[in-house]
Amino acid sequence: MTELLVRNACVIDPIRGINGEIMDIAIRDGRIVESVSDRAEMIDARRCLTLPGGIDSHTHVCGTKVNFGRYMSPEDMRAGRTRRRGRMHVTSGYYVPTTFGNSYRYSAMGYTTLLEGAMAPLEARHTHEEFTATPHQDMLANTLFDGNWAVMDAVREKNIQKTAAIVGWTLNAVKGYAIKLTNPGGTEAWGWGEDLTSIHEPVRHFEVTPAEIISTMIRANELLRLPHSVHLHCNNLGKPGNYQTTLATFDLVPDLNPDRQTLYATHVQFHAYGGGTWRNICSKAEEITRSINNKPQIVMDMGQIMFCRTMTMTADGPMEFNLHCLHHNKWSNHDVELETGSGIIPVTYSKKSAVNCIMWAIGLELALLTKSPWQCLLETDNPNGAPFVKYPEVIGLLMSKRYRDEECATLHADTEKRTSLHALEREMDWFDIAVMTRAGQAKALGIINQGKGHLGIGAEADIAIYPIRTDSLDPAREYRKVVEGFQKTRYTIKRGRVVSRDGEIIVDGANATFWTNARIPEDLRVDNDPEFIRRFQEFYTVRMSNYPVQEVYLPRGRCVETESFT
């Protein structure tokens, strides 16, 4: 039995409605309890800001394309390297760090749970191998279904049950957590070097539209009773004028679940552009947030960009090729048979670029114009918009109008004309930030019941204590202190153990991987369906028996069972 008592913590715990109360937190064997014995180890939080462990609900940290981002970028590996020290392994990389680099830096920022944004089922084993080497965070994997042949066939047949059965079998086989759609239909079109330009354009041969894929998958997701909703990267990412696609997509979404959203729209900044060319691109954040504010069934994340050099990586292969044709830098592409695509290119977001400045402003506008912080979560689509180490700066910008104005003064002159950021007075408070960086994520991912995102009795003792005194710090004026404070916790506690102290990792990690297992009725199971098996054996290049990820790849797997089809 191990016990820990955190005393004098200034707790903000939005899920329980606690806002800045000074309290003690008792921990036994990794969970939060009523009280502990007087033999418990003690930490004095000295009235510092204490939050549930940070949760990133959309980040790219593990798997085939992340590793290829490292593989093709020795220049970035040189840019961030640390030596072996105490319990810490060597790390390399700044915007695509090695697994240990990701894990240590997230931990130093108080993050204890991460959702990998895109895992191709065929290459799931790779993602799980890297999860094991990311020891300080519990991991979940979004599983890609955007170009899944079996799913598209079932969608064409308008067969929601069959769609659900395919998804359920696949998630179980690859130990995935949730459904991810990246440019649905578009990644299959990219198999022929093409893309789709509207959610009503059919995919060649399969004769289904993105709208049909999205609508059917939303219903299949609810039929499976998955803890998370469909997680969508909309069509037409990064194209001027794409806000109409985004709005049309949002209009497809019914409100089907009382406990959480029905659709999670990711990195919406990249999907909120007006205009028709790069010359007249402008912000449509107001239109997007008007839709969001009227649709409690949708949660989005910002997809904030920050000015820096970084790497874009996504399953959206055609988008990456278009971007490559603009940037003329190196380009990698990796299509995955019968499932999805992917692309990787490095980019530099520059204040000298009007387009980049507008993108930067749009991300902030989305957050500031969304009334409920539960509906707009803080992310950069790491590393696409910026590496996650920039989150503290994003927090600073959201909390301080002065910081935004000072930044705006350094931007391309067109920013003010084509966005409304300068007119937004809103300054977020500590509670808003706690929602946008952990509580909102826990709710959106459906992991509150797993003890994540709050500090109630029975919760997992994942806690971040920041060197911030909310009673004496004015974030609007002293935003630099806010940024600094969120960069390095005083203590990060993971499952009841202090794992990081003042940015230094002090123990070996032992993360868990959450995955979902939906029980599917015998007569619907695709592994009993001779036609499904025949097509699998004929068109995949691995045997169906060799496809599922063995339990050995999840040394600390946590299966979330669902009562589906009820």
Partner: protein, 429 residues
């Protein structure tokens, strides 16, 4: 006993549809496999026990002693080299990286003498590729450049390209055009629809010519480029631009001939150019069964796919300096641990000679040319035969190798962990 859907660990194809008949600790029949697979499973003669060199020959020693001596050799070394890794599973490779990190050693894999130049090219211009099933189901044009799949990857054509029935290519032989580019005729060129015979060393020029033609600049092309008629170049370029889905596979004929990584870069840039007309992909034909896995494991752990030097405490990478051949050639390293590979057979003579000079330990299931240069050889399981573990196919698809028999050998990952523990005092990585 019959075991189905077995993965052959030999080459980068990692065919996973083999059927083996097993009797006791022996594989007695291999179905579906190529001749290389059959030899891998059936001619699996192992070194029976660890051996140490004596003044007159070899002496068998217990595993514990061999492990202790190996740890001592590494501990005494100023500049140890850990090399190989490409024929074992990722679990062993991962322990290898941890040992290198702990010792401040150099760790390198067989890419260094194989597709290392491809990696350098990819680091300059990227890699437009895909999984092999994408080629199987869609490609109507397949190009083999500087490789001989019939000999080196015997089932590549039947599983993934020329003869494979694909969803959008129901009649593979009729629907696919196969182009072979090489300096000489070989078994693969014999079945090509179009054979492009380049003068040795002419790959770069031919790739440049094709790029120019694809960009509509054929007027600048001379009558002949590296022995190839302009007409043929224009024909090939047209086949490519008119393809619905084209795939280039290349081998050491491109990476290890004059121009090296610049050849590969040019081939990638041709692929890039072709994507402005149609869909095109390019992929290296990786040799060892899990050489790509060693690149993957090294990359997520250190940031670099090969040639990683931990001497400065951080991971440092500079191919040409931190590559195994160069470290040996300069006579720089003073101890070597060779795992799951045979540099004695593949390295330049001067590099191999240095291995013989310094204390070299081999961890490998089989006696090979490196054994005769070594001081100690520790036999172990062979990944995919009597040990399970992860391997990455040439296209990046991770596959679990199966354990099909038990032969009583320790797993190389276990041996390496014991070495690590000795070096680290007590705790594991």
């Amino acid at each position: 006993m019959i075991v189905n859907d077995v993965v052959c660990p030999f080459c980068g194809c990692l065919c996973d549809d083999l059927e083996l008949e097993v009797k006791g600790d022996r594989v007695v029949r291999v179905q579906n496999g190529c001749s290389l697979a059959e030899a891998t499973f059936m001619n699996d003669t192992r070194l029976p026990a660890p051996i140490r060199r004596t003044t007159t020959g070899w002496k068998e020693i217990p595993y514990d002693e061999a492990i202790k001596e190996t740890a001592d050799i590494l501990k005494d070394a100023d500049r140890p080299l850990l090399y190989g890794w490409s024929s074992t599973h990722g679990e062993a490779q991962s322990v290898g990286v941890h040992i290198a990190e702990l010792m401040g050693a150099v760790i390198d894999n067989t890419s260094t003498v194989c597709h290392g130049p491809s990696i350098l090219a990819i680091q300059e211009v990227g890699h437009p590729g895909c999984t092999l099933g994408q080629v199987k189901n869609r490609a109507d044009v397949v190009i083999y450049w500087g490789c001989n799949p019939v000999e080196a990857h015997p089932r590549h054509m039947s599983r993934y390209t020329t003869y494979a029935t694909g969803f959008f290519v129901p009649d593979a032989q009729r629907d696919r055009t196969v182009i072979v580019v090489d300096t000489r005729r070989n078994n693969s060129s014999d079945i090509a629809d179009e054979f492009v015979q380049i003068e040795p060393g002419g790959d770069y020029a031919v790739l440049s010519a094709l790029r120019a033609i694809v960009r509509g600049k054929d007027s600048v092309i001379p009558k002949k480029v590296a022995g190839i008629e302009k007409e043929q170049l224009i024909r090939v370029a047209e086949i490519c631009t008119k393809a619905k889905f084209g795939a280039i596979f290349f081998g050491l004929g491109l990476t290890m001939s004059r121009g090296k990584y610049k050849n590969v870069r040019n081939a990638i840039e041709l692929t890039d150019e072709l994507n402005r007309h149609t869909k095109f992909v390019i992929s290296p034909m990786r040799g060892h069964g899990n050489v790509y896995g060693s690149n993957e494991v090294f990359t997520w752990m250190t940031g670099y796919p090969f040639a990683v030097d931990f001497a400065r405490g951080i991971a440092f990478y500079n191919p040409g300096e931190t590559t195994a051949v160069d470290i040996l050639r300069r006579g720089e390293c003073d101890a070597a641990l060779i795992v799951a590979s045979d540099p004695g057979a593949n390295f330049p003579r001067i590099a191999a000679a240095h291995l013989a000079k310094i204390p070299t330990v081999v961890i490998d299931p089989h006696v090979n040319a490196t054994t005769s240069l070594s001081r100690i050889h520790i036999p172990c399981t062979a990944a995919g035969i009597d040990a399970a573990g992860t391997a990455y196919r040439m296209d990046g698809v991770p596959i679990r190798l199966k354990k099909v028999i038990e032969r009583g050998y320790p797993d190389d990952a276990e041996i390496l962990k014991k070495i690590y523990d000795r070096l680290n005092g007590s705790k594991g990585p």
